[in-house]
Symmetry: C2
Subunit: 255 residues, 2 copies
DNA sequence: TAGATTGTTAATCGATTAACAATC
DNA sequence: TAGATTGTTAATCGATTAACAATC
């Protein structure tokens, strides 16, 4: 998620559960790393460890794609790379546009992970006339007036929104009207789209808030005497202030 | 969200389900917008619409926090803002460090959504000596040699990793050893951390891959004669090429 | 009181996981 | 054949949702 989903109801797409689809790119990355090291085969146990998931879950996930493994042996790395790529639609070229070329938009334009996965940045679009024509990531910035033409000429079906929150819905409407049917939204706004359009939302502030919740809970656990498994710098600092220069691991802390 | 979880087993934290925690920031944002418009109360139906969720789900989520609504009336906006903020731990100050001041790190440093939610960027850290001392988002960049001291002096418990993939695990290890217990990882790497440390992962490429999967499925659906609900620019372009300048909505498309 | 809306129940659905038969 | 590992089953768990009694 990325995070905060604004996704269609979790219907199985072609019989593959949404949760499985979300893990396929993880497997693909681990497999690509193995492929680069010329590892010929891998077991579900090894691959699961590399991808950071449970091996039973991995085997279950793969079972939705077909029977691509060999009992007693494992999976052929190259073959699996191909099958997962095909399943994800990465064997074709996906032109994308990035709308909103601020810091984040520029960061995405420079991000190497797109090109290597079948995504091609077809255009960078911004509403600020003073940006028009400027070079970002070796590409000229287009004005938002030309949005519709760019979408249509390039056959773009995926749009990335990195505008300020206030502009996001309007940009989204124009993208959708021009024919975009998948949107990756970095703006802190809930987008409204017609049925049939997919939106995924990446929200940096939300991710931090979720971490803060758990961080707070850890502190509360410790106060309750459950003993933190890892002493935080914050708590160690508090302890030093509390017990003098040697007090590195306190038993209990003041609120 | 943010996506690809590398999170502790979904134990309920203080009895609040993980899925609910992930939605609290969404509600908080919608409530903050209402608060700014001086709206005094809101019903579950209205708030759910603003947050983009089902109202039954919202009421269920709130029921884990307590009974903060009034039957027949709705929820007091200000009171709910306070309760959710408190639950998320946002009533306290969270110093964070950002490690890796490339395009993305700089974008995050400039991102306004942090400060408004109780997060404070305590330091920007980079391994490149030529970056040291440079100003980014009005703040001097520190060298990674000083990472441990910065963490400890500032009592940082949350770290954001925006380094290249190859450096991420090493940075993560140093952050954890210095006392950081929550990590937001933007590097395309699965991080290994000790128990008690939370990692959330934001992966731009994975989000796009998930969109590509659905995009591909839409095209397959249409080929199967199910009729797309929204004609994409890509398919319209193909149609124009196929049927001449007037052919805007094709019946069936070639593969 | 009548109308509105919450908080909760219970049914349903989807995801995870251990275990193991199948089979290389 | 013996050992290894997949693919699948079935149990369990967590999340979603409609419905409605409680109650303002």
């Amino acid at each position: 998620m990325a995070t905060g989903r604004n996704h269609r109801p979790a219907t199985r797409s072609r019989g593959i559960p949404e949760a499985t689809v979300a893990r396929l790119p993880l497997y693909l990355r681990a497999l690509t790393a193995l492929s680069e090291r010329s590892v010929p085969t891998v077991s579900s146990e090894e691959l699961a460890a590399a991808a950071g998931v449970n091996s039973a879950k991995l085997r279950k996930d793969f079972s939705y794609l077909g029977s691509y493994g060999t009992r007693g042996v494992g999976y052929d790395v190259e073959y699996l790379v191909y099958q997962i790529s095909r399943e994800l639609g990465l064997t074709q070229d996906w032109p994308v546009v990035i709308v909103g070329i601020g810091n984040l938009g520029a960061a995405l334009a420079n991000y190497g992970g797109f090109a290597s996965r079948g995504f091609r940045v077809a255009a960078l679009i911004d509403a600020d006339p003073s940006m028009t024509g400027k070079q970002v990531a070796g590409m000229g910035v287009s004005h938002v007036d030309d949005l519709e033409e760019i979408i249509q000429v390039n056959g773009v079906s995926i749009g990335v929104i990195t505008t300020p929150g206030g502009a996001a819905q309007q940009v989204c409407d124009r993208l959708v009207a021009a024919g975009v049917t998948s949107i990756l939204n970095f703006a802190p706004t809930v987008l409204t789209v017609p049925e049939g359009v997919d939106v995924r939302k990446v929200d940096l502030s939300i991710e931090l808030q979720i971490l803060a919740f758990h961080e707070q809970r850890k502190a509360a656990d410790e106060l309750a005497g459950n003993g933190a498994r890892v002493p935080t710098a914050a708590r160690r600092r508090a302890a030093r202030a509390d017990e003098g220069p040697e007090g590195d691991i306190p038993a209990v802390m003041p609120a």
